[in-house]
Symmetry: D2
Subunit: 104 residues, 4 copies
């Protein structure tokens, strides 16, 4: 995934609509969490088993769109904070591995 290219697209998208003034990190974090909850909403009354088959239901496209919305705000927020997402993920996976050691 070409994060930099998407960030340029999102920046232009916001600038074209005069939305940049709303895109401070506090507001973007809120918007990200709201989109995450819209994703949760799809699953809230399903059993875990039903959730596993969601893509074959008529909610499949909806799930895909909400996941995209979360990622779009995350990519935009990372741009505003000058965080390299690939590096952040790589570092966190190492940290998580140290925190949760494999039990034999």
């Amino acid at each position: 995934m070409d994060i930099l290219k998407i960030q340029k697209q999102l920046e232009k998208f916001a600038d074209d609509r005069n939305w940049d003034k709303f895109h401070n990190p506090k507001n973007l974090a809120m918007a990200l969490s709201v989109e995450a909850s819209e994703l949760v909403e799809i699953f809230q009354w399903l059993t875990p088993e039903q959730s596993a088959g969601i893509m074959n239901s008529n909610e499949g496209e909806h799930v895909k769109e909400e996941i995209a919305d979360v990622l779009i705000y995350l990519i935009r927020l990372a741009d505003k904070l000058d965080i390299n997402l690939a590096d952040a993920v790589a570092e966190k996976i190492v940290k998580n591995a140290e925190k949760h050691l494999i039990k034999n």
Copy 2:
């Protein structure tokens, strides 16, 4: 960002810890929203202006880690649902552009 490579890493991470049984879409969506809220928590009492300077504060590393956690669960969830994240984002940006037309 090499999503496929990260997905392989996360799959191995879960398998090594016998966590795959917990990773149904319902639970992963919940975990994603919880991480998003941990990000929000950092910003909740800040002014928008203070939030813009967060990376120069002693919360900068914390922000980076929470953003990574959100993305890790998103990448894992997309793997479980067989959703191509780059395609999902590209399609949603087109859809958003149609929804929010530029006003001249």
Copy 3:
């Protein structure tokens, strides 16, 4: 507020619609957080100052409804878990006072 009376109403509401099977604590906690995010969504692009005047805007009724939705799920969840809300709040206020001592 007569919590017990509301709990009876909500129980009957769920029973009448055969929804009780969905109302386990996990699902109710998810629904509660989704409603909380619908409240957040109203405020996400507002300045703190604008948020203070929300009840005089055309979003006032919407805010009231989302707050009611959060409280309805909270009251229902407390019923399912047999938690006395008044006691829980009283105990937590004492605990918070011990945690956050007043500085002179």
Copy 4:
């Protein structure tokens, strides 16, 4: 539950700590959603069946505290917005009944 009395307590609590300046509706809505997610976090990896027995686990007290935190912020927010919680809930239950008619 004596909402008015709790609101007086919470107002004094905030004033004693010079926190009132942080308590605009936007920030309080964020804090409410963060507490709701801390509640969700307790349930995220549990099965629905396990969630039903949470109060008999060593997480029971934790659940009670997080529920109290959600309610505390909700009561504080309602005070700031001058919303009568009992009225809001009563009106919403009527509205929900009209929206979700009982099927015979």
